[in-house]
Symmetry: C2
């Protein structure tokens, strides 16, 4: 247990910057912000090093690289002045924990969560550059993990460093919880938290693993979607069959699968699984007003994706569709011959990976039961249909009227230079629900990325300007929390 | 041009076996059949050698192996006593041509067609043995190409050899047309035939590239299905998207594809493409009576495939479904993530390989137009749908009342030991239509395989007893043709 360990390197000899009058505070912040700008090049070099490590948490043969990324991060945190840093084992990839508690027990403590693991990427997927050979061009750094989440998590380490290395005592205590399994749904983080409730105790948790629409429209995420991820398998003949001999006599498993999957939506593009929407919390008028502040338009979706027309649930605006409504998406289908040219088989089986993004208060396991029942009850007797649960995550909802949320709003106004809007996030960070409920503290999701950063796709990148603004926003946030 | 080249090794000094009375004929046949039995082990060894060559015509890096198989076959034919043999180049893989014209111009000429190329196979697909390391067990030889078509084509080479090497002049002239591109739809055989009409001139063509239900129910195929093979591509976003950011706002291409494909059949499992059945020749009462002789049952389909229940067009018997009706099968679907575990993307695109088996008188190109129109007209405006033609083949229908067909029937009765039924073949040998129409001769399809031989699937095999019976049936057939 590392809780309460006081830093030996705490600059206790600089009490004058802790003055009670506003002027001194601003100076302390300004000095830290100035330091972060002076060191901007060095911070980018460090991020480049970090991105070079292919820390693919879902690829067993990359376990060594995941460990290397954990070690790199721990070393970087030590270099930043974080007093106590430990790479702590889990049943999977390690947690990098760090703390600087020099502000003392009378000051609030901020817990920073981030993840140093990434999803797979290879140049063959269509990247313009090698995903693990970071390139800087057009004011951006291009690499897998640039925005999700190595670049974003590093802003907070560099924010603390900027206080400490500019000779200014940070106004609050800071703890870091950096995991290496977010991209595989954090199977070991919940047990880790349960075992280390005291170590991780804090007043507020901050997470930067989300994004905004444009640099001038920063966003604070007050809601995240949960997830139920399943695989549906249709099995027909015990082997691929010659389509000339058996065509027309057995139910082609690929056909049976498409027939099943085609029933998932009604003609209004609503999810047709019975009971699916039962537990969805209705959007309040206040929320609807906040959502309406987003300038996201159908044109933005068209421009960002290149699709010929948008699609979605009838009678729901595009701004609500992207985050406030649950989804059901086919993530992949595999059946039969996918190589070049023709092959005249009836495939032995067909598989689909399907995931549903959930909103409060949908229960991932109840949704799994509904999906399983839906596919099984619609399965024809001519094939065998099985439904397997791959992973789940709880949705999360935090009131944007909490003081910590309003502190984050001011941090953007001062540090970023623009008033943020409160948004529901479309993505899932399952651990947010665990932090909310197990550690009983508000979670503030201050994203520093752009919706168009290409995370999980090709040519992922992170704006260097937003990296810098993120560091400064974090510097201000720590101060705003101290004032509450 | 090799037409009319007379064999220098023609055993012209053995006229006595060409006597006009029945007894001498029978003796000649008996001697040849006896020889084939004596040499049975050697023939199996030769087949084993042949099967060891991975002559995958659709795999560019296997071109050398395809050429090696052509050379092996040419050499084997020379060893069998075929007077003239040549490996003749095409724009693709070579044709192995051979002729023995020692019976003289007054005697009929039989053209034997076969193919020495095979479809892909690897142990990882689920084979019990290595597909290109033939194994003999349970009275069968197990290897890719065992039944389709290396084992079957070799029966005719060994039949001719059995006449020649037992000191009996064959009763007819024999030509061999062995191609290396049947499994990629014979793109260069039609031009080859058009350029060599004289070389290939004959009175009847025999092809053994089909099968029977059981060893006691041999079958002569009088109809083959044609084919239209297409690829349907649905394109949505220009790149895979994060399902949390864009889920519910763009039409998932995998969903759009399954919605399109689910419209292919109506609720009676009839193909719902407008005009699809327009040109199908109705089954006559005589044909229906012949088809009814087949003992194929739904139980046979269940046993052979392992499916929980049969499937197919309402109001059509299983015996007619397997061959006399056109089909529409999904041969493969590829979209998004197919690896282990979850990946939360919206795939950029989704592709399906789809093929239709056609019956007389459906026109493959007209069917392509109908399919293309069907998919394009059903495509939603939210995605881009394209339909590409991969290959076509004409259906073929030969009256079973022709004398050559009846000669084949007697050949089975004498050589195989069972009366054959005339069947419509479910598969496609597109070149049959070309031989019928370009060379203007009847095509007799005498299959020596079993429906359950696993061709195009895993654990392909060929019964050694059927290999021997095939050789003897071919020996008798040559004699029966001489008697017409």
């Amino acid at each position: 247990m590392m809780n309460g360990v006081r830093s030996e390197s705490c600059p206790a000899a600089l009490p004058f910057v802790r003055g009670v009058f506003r002027g001194a505070k601003v100076m302390s912040i300004d000095a830290a912000r100035g330091y972060s700008r002076e060191k901007g090049e060095a911070f980018i070099e460090q991020l480049t090093e970090f991105l070079r490590i292919p820390s693919l948490s879902g690829t067993p043969e990359r376990a060594g690289d995941v460990a290397a990324a954990a070690d790199w991060l721990a070393e970087n945190m030590r270099g930043a002045g974080v007093a106590q840093v430990a790479v702590m084992p889990t049943a999977g990839h390690p947690v990098v924990y760090g703390e600087w508690l020099g502000a003392g027990p009378d000051k609030p403590t901020v817990l920073v969560y981030g993840h140093y693991d990434v999803v797979p990427a290879s140049k063959e997927d269509g990247w313009d550059t090698e995903p693990f050979e970071p390139v800087i061009s057009d004011g951006k750094i291009w690499a897998r993990g640039a925005t999700d989440d190595k670049g974003q998590l590093l802003t907070h380490v560099k924010a603390l460093e900027s206080y400490l290395k500019s000779g200014n005592e940070p106004p609050v205590n800071v703890k870091f919880l950096m995991e290496g399994e977010e991209e595989v749904s954090s199977p070991n983080l919940r047990p880790f938290i349960e075992e280390h409730l005291d170590l991780l105790a804090a007043d507020v948790c901050i997470i930067s693993d989300s994004s905004m629409r444009t640099i001038d429209e920063p966003a604070i995420t007050y809601s995240l979607r949960g997830m139920t991820y399943i695989e549906v398998t249709v099995e027909g003949p015990h082997d691929d069959l010659h389509s000339g001999f058996y065509g027309g006599t057995v139910h082609n498993p690929a056909l049976a699968l498409v027939q099943l999957l085609s029933k998932m939506f009604d003609d209004q593009n609503r999810i047709a699984v019975p009971g699916f929407y039962d537990d969805v919390v209705a959007i309040s008028d206040r929320e609807r007003a906040e959502i309406a502040k987003s300038e996201l338009s159908e044109r933005d979706i068209l421009d960002a994706t290149g699709v010929p027309a948008v699609w979605g649930e009838a009678d729901v605006t595009i701004r609500e569709r992207v985050s406030a409504r649950p989804t059901l998406e086919i993530n992949g289908i595999t059946s039969g011959w996918g190589g070049p040219g023709p092959k005249t088989i009836i495939p032995a089986n067909a598989k689909a990976k399907i995931s549903s993004r959930l909103v409060a208060n949908q229960d991932p396991h109840r949704i799994y039961d509904q999906l399983k029942d839906f596919f099984e009850s619609n399965a024809p007797e001519t094939v065998k249909v099985t439904v397997e649960l791959l992973t789940t995550g709880e949705p999360a909802l935090v009131s944007f009227e909490l003081p910590e949320m309003q502190a984050a709003k001011r941090a953007y106004e001062i540090g970023w230079g623009a008033t943020p809007i409160f948004v529901r996030g479309g993505g899932s960070i399952p651990i947010v629900a665990d932090i909310l409920h197990l550690l009983d503290m508000p979670v503030v999701m201050m994203g520093f990325g752009l919706d168009t950063d290409g995370l999980h796709g090709t040519n992922e990148h992170f704006s260097l300007e937003m990296f810098q603004r993120g560091i400064e926003t974090s510097i201000v946030f720590l101060d705003e929390i101290a004032r509450l």
